[in-house]
Amino acid sequence: MPVLRRWIQIIATALSNAYWMFPHTKGIYQGTLKSICVPGLNCYSCPAATGACPLGSLQSIIAGLRPAVKAGHYHFGTYIIGTLGLIGSLVGRMPCGWLCPFGFLQELIHKIPSPKFEIPKILTYMKYLFLALFIFILPALVIDDYSYGMTWFCKFICPAGTLEAGIPMIFLQPDLKESIGALFYFKLTILFIFIVWMILSRRPFCRVACPLGAVYSLFNKHSVFRMIHDPEKCTHCQECYNNCPMGIKFYEGPNQHDCIRCLKCLNESCRFGAISYEIAGMPAIKPVEPQKSALTQP
């Protein structure tokens, strides 16, 4: 299962960034696939990107809401919200653990040997602030003379955009170097901070700042796919916590907002059969009994 997940992450990253003509075209992919939102965080201004980033698309629509309505186009982002809601209703935050290229990158960077630090739980609620403020409120309310808002999260925060689009575009189109200003260096600083944080802590961007993860997390308790905890079998041995890429203590709740359903706790951690999952109310159980050797351990 760990190998399968890694392969799915690799394939998802490759498919999300499958346009390899960009060194010749010096631009980004402009085909019809760009009308489809990818399930993970992947900047659509990345030269190799084949799909649309749902967060970027949603901000763009909200930022242009007033002019669009004035022109008779009632675009409220229901296509994007519907897509995210459909994915969330089916599997909750699972795309973060299996499909998101930026989540995959964070897991790889965290493998760099260093002292490791846990993220205070209170910080993990900040992603909801980012979602409300930078995706909805600021793009909708802060408008220019022509009634257009800005894509606040993309412009001022998103490290994925800096890494996947900002830096590559400067190499592809050297003329852009003249346009670099304080904002670009500010975003580079944010990217650098997150990369250092990724080495030290488990998936810091996903846990603290990702609005996409925040959206999916709202469905974790109500999705078709859900995790199950058996408190009678659980010994609180902390193995699930030690192996969890999101630093979750599974025994504190099986469908916490940060659970990305990577199933590492199930397949690589719990030796007592205390963790399983259900699909549409039908539980999937391990047909094996807990190992005798495991039962003797504290």
Binding site: S57, Y79, I81, L84, L176, G281, A284, K286
Partner: protein
Amino acid sequence: MKAEYILLSSSPKRAFPFLLIILFLVLILLGINLGEVSTVMEKATKICLDCIGIG
């Protein structure tokens, strides 16, 4: 540990996720009907320099 899983069908099924699925499918269809797909494509096929911190 090598584990295999089986699905049991004896548990009660939950209706709420399926209501959510229907709701969001309706939203997707509404968005498609309103022409949001072309708007998404239009935004995603242009390099937004402002969005990536350049300019």
